[in-house]
Symmetry: C2
Subunit: 228 residues, 2 copies
């Protein structure tokens, strides 16, 4: 069985990515990052999603991006609410965490090298997303090139790391349909950037709005409770 | 003044790199990473080195690479001792921490983006080093390319990140001479992978051996105490 590392946030995209990796018969090593995010509840959801797919191992690794700041997700800044679709997709929002995917992929690369995995699954997509630079295909290819020079693989020439991004050209609705087909329990997932302490989604942040729109377009009922 | 981020470990190379950045008139933001290294004492030394150069800010950021393991520096494995020069420079040793420089540079990139710095200084060198893949110039260039796609810079086209590696082709002796010229207090630095609790260097790990050889070849007295 092919060992793969899957970055798992607890949201829809990474849960569907995990389901796709399982459908391909991979041995699943799920990795979640506790980076000081305000929606830290997502880690517990990631644990539940990982368990629901019977992963070989789920590890949560801490990195203190709150000590770096610069984002509404890691510093004392307001999470924007009630933005229009046009506002959401124009420019880079304050919820962008500087170099987050690079930090996450670097940690995933470290674990992949230790366990002997050659593939890292990442649930980024360029449609219906929030304008983050580190979700674009050209970024993913550049990370891959770098990864192959960064590690034993680059010196010994035995392995070649691949970043597998199965959702990259899918819409949110398409992702939800695919996830539903593959048995993702969306009731376990948490997309909200600003949930209540009990884990109830705000329903008004960019991430909630993209999720609601996705379920609506997919014609599937969202099992999650919203405060608004 | 040009803002720069310097990765500072508490060893000779990064201290000399910091001195070079200062000599170029940069505004210094020093960054040390608490990654669960067995020689965690180096962080206190990094603090002292940063203070001795009057940096604008020194931040220590935690990332739990002990949760990843796979290295004699982050797992319960023996640090090799008394290896010959030939053994040290052949192959990748067990002290290699998988993807460590990628994790460090990713965190540095995050901070650089937040504070508006375009340059990250990193004290890697390809001579008199330990055979780590993530110290090679081709790796550094690939990280740079990736960094420029990973961040706002890549989307907005305003900045271009550079990884500055002033020591990359220097010998350890050359680094020590340059550091001495620039006023580095080598008595503050700690190179040892396996120091005593009091911070006394073992004198027998690869890092101690490379350091001793460097001071000897530079004709400078090493102010540090060794157990052996």
């Amino acid at each position: 069985m092919k060992k793969v590392v899957i970055l798992l946030s607890g949201g829809i995209d990474s849960a569907t990515t995990l389901a796709i990796a399982r459908s391909e018969g991979c041995e699943l090593y799920a990795l979640s990052i506790d980076y000081g995010q305000r929606h830290r509840l997502e880690l517990e959801r990631a644990r539940q999603v990982a368990a629901s797919f019977g992963v070989k191992e789920h590890r949560i690794i801490r990195v203190d991006l709150r000590g770096i700041g610069g984002s509404a997700l890691t510093a004392d800044m307001e999470v924007p609410k009630d933005r229009t679709q046009e506002e959401i997709t124009r420019g880079i929002p304050v919820t962008y965490v500087p170099a987050r995917n690079t930090v996450f992929l670097a940690i995933a690369l470290s674990w992949a090298e230790v366990i002997g995995a050659e593939t890292i699954f990442l649930g980024v997509n360029v449609l219906d997303y929030s304008g983050y630079p580190d979700c674009r295909p050209e970024y993913i290819r550049a990370f891959e090139d770098m990864a192959n020079l960064a590690t034993r693989a680059g010196v010994e020439g035995k392995k070649r790391f691949t970043i597998n991004t199965p959702l990259i050209t899918m819409t949110k609705a398409g992702i939800i349909k695919r996830g539903a087909e593959l048995g993702v329990d969306f009731g376990l997932t948490l997309s909200c950037y600003d949930p209540t302490r009990e884990g109830i989604a705000c329903g008004r942040c960019d991430s909630c709005l993209l999720r609601k729109k996705g379920f609506s377009e997919a014609g599937i009922k969202d099992p999650v409770r919203y405060a608004a």
